[in-house]
């Protein structure tokens, strides 16, 4: 939270904007990974997993980067075998992140 608070220059509105953008982007990108998985498109899986992994790492949300990195790795290896498990974990982590921000006084509401 300290990292985010610093990044938002201790501006509550800016913090809420950044968190809102992050959550929206992550949801959209996980959705694109679902599409890539259904289509068996390894390149798209790599692309979106990499992007969301970078965004999450920068945002300080480290736990979600583990399944995302695994998805990126699978995509690079030209296989999506077991990808649905990692993707489900990523969705679960995103929910935990959303819950976390809902409980923080600076970001809830």
């Amino acid at each position: 939270m300290r990292r985010l608070w610093n990044c938002a220059d201790e501006d509550k509105q800016e913090l809420q904007r950044l968190v809102g953008n992050y959550l929206r982007e992550m949801e959209a990108q996980l959705g694109r990974m679902e599409v890539a998985l259904a289509a068996g498109d390894c390149a798209e899986m790599t692309r979106w997993a990499h992007r969301s992994c970078g965004a999450s790492a920068t945002f300080g949300m480290v736990a979600i980067t583990i399944p995302l990195y695994a998805l990126e790795h699978l995509g690079r290896a030209q296989t999506l075998e077991g990808a649905e498990i990692h993707l489900a974990q990523a969705w679960r982590q995103l929910e935990l992140i959303r819950d976390f921000f809902q409980t923080q006084p600076e970001t809830k509401g």
């Binding site: 990044c7 501006d11 692309r47």
Partner: protein
């Protein structure tokens, strides 16, 4: 009998800096008292009855914000001008000082004694209206509501870059900063003579401080297995703090800026020693080497004004761009950011940047491809490039070096370290290719 002589109390633990300010205020007709310890400085206020206080925020005994808070709690002391020094990177501390009731806040790395004396005179003559100290505010209170904060914003600008938002209060209005009028020729000559004389004394003391900093980093290496203690980083931060303040006074701008960034980075590490690893030790060592080099070459190596440095950030992640932007705001560096590789190439063709930060994987051209392209542009041949990416494998690091990258930072990165490295490489590029050896070794990325 009451006289017109104004009294100023300087609370500053660095003897050299305190002495220089004392001489400046005395030559401007002030009666000056100096205290080196925060707690003693606080009690001295009641005995000396100053008309203004010049206060460093990092002090032994009692820190600056506590002094201000305690002082403002006393009846009859709500309007006494309190001028404070801070580090532009340490926004929390500056804000804390303002909410405690500081009148004006100055960036220690960029403010000269003449500016401080002029600001004090302007306060006494009514040219600058001192905001009445307000009671401490809740942390979530909007920053713009405190009138002193806009003074903090304006006075923490280093010079001339009016287009760039300040690190602390980007949305605050920007009235005319309290700059001194241009001095007459003879006074200017005196200032230069003073700076030259003071520089000798300062550089004599800097050598010991550099040695002390090197010893600390050497200890980090020897204790590679154990986590360093927060106090050790604070000691390093304090050494850098004294160098930064002194360098600003004697017009060694590069040195002042670099030491200020080191001070802030070391302080950040003190708050989270677990994030310290081999890459951070390497950054510290390089920075101290550069500080030693800048101290040796003096003002002659300041080829380009720091305020004219420009940074390009290319990253398709918005939050990453925001975080990097914040780091460059803290460093008072002008910067432009884009998430599109095509736009980046256009900007590179048309502008001479002093540093380029590249994400590796982006839609369109990758960061490696952009780097290879910019190395073919004559005006950017020596421009340092830092890759910032989530990739941390050995292969990626090798490719970054092969394409002309100078360094490689792994996400999640510490913004303070990015700011420090950026300043380090930009100054290094001004000093020539031998100033810094090539990029960091392919070691584990930052946490």
């Amino acid at each position: 009998m009451k006289t017109d002589t104004k009294k100023i109390l300087i609370i500053e633990d660095d003897e050299l800096i305190a002495d220089i300010y004392k001489r400046h205020f005395e030559s401007a007709g002030f009666e000056v008292c100096v205290e080196k310890n925060g707690a003693e400085g606080y009690y001295r206020i009641f005995r000396f009855h100053p008309d203004a206080v010049l206060l460093d925020l990092l002090l032994p005994g009692m820190d600056g914000p506590t002094i201000i808070r305690k002082f403002r709690a006393q009846k009859g002391f709500t309007t006494l001008p309190i001028l404070v020094f801070t580090n532009a990177y340490l926004g929390d501390m500056g804000r804390d000082a303002v909410s405690a009731g500081a009148t004006l806040v100055f960036n220690k790395a960029t403010t000269t004694p003449q500016q401080i004396v002029a600001a004090a005179n302007d306060l006494f003559s009514g040219k600058i209206k001192a905001p009445v100290a307000s009671p401490p505010q809740a942390e979530s209170a909007p920053r713009e509501e405190n009138p002193a904060l806009s003074l903090f914003a304006e006075s923490s600008f280093s010079s001339g870059d009016a287009t760039k938002p300040d690190a602390v209060a980007p949305d605050a209005p920007a009235p005319k900063p309290p700059q001194p009028d241009a001095p007459p020729a003879d006074e200017l000559e005196n200032q230069i003579a003073f700076q030259t004389a003071a520089r000798g004394g300062f550089l004599g003391k800097v050598a010991n401080r550099i040695d002390a900093m090197r010893d600390i980093v050497r200890q980090f290496k020897l204790n590679a297995g154990g986590a360093p203690k927060a106090e050790t980083f604070l000691e390093l931060s304090h050494l850098a703090h004294t160098i930064s303040g002194g360098a600003a006074i004697v017009a060694l701008d590069y040195l002042a800026r670099l030491a200020a960034a080191l001070e802030a980075f070391a302080r950040e590490l003190s708050e989270c020693p677990a994030q310290f690893g081999v890459p951070q030790r390497y950054t510290l060592a390089k920075t101290i080497d550069m500080i030693a080099r800048l101290a040796t070459c003096g003002p002659s190596c300041q080829v380009k004004e720091f305020s004219r440095f420009h940074v390009l950030v290319v990253d398709d992640d918005e939050f990453s761009r925001t975080l990097m932007g914040r780091a460059f705001d803290w460093a008072n560096l002008s910067h432009v950011a884009t998430g599109r590789s095509e736009t980046a190439l256009e900007l590179l063709r048309e502008n001479k940047f002093d540093l380029v930060i590249l994400d590796v994987n982006m839609d369109g051209l990758s960061g490696f491809e952009i780097c290879a392209a910019l190395r073919k542009m004559d005006h950017l041949l020596n421009c340092p490039v830092i890759f910032v990416t989530v990739l941390s494998d050995f292969h990626s690091k090798m490719v970054s070096l092969q394409t002309g990258g100078k360094d490689f930072i792994v996400k999640p990165f510490a913004p303070m370290e990015l700011a420090l490295k950026s300043i380090l490489y930009m100054i290094g590029a001004q000093l020539g290719p031998e100033a810094l050896s090539d990029a960091s070794p392919p070691e584990p990325g930052m946490k």
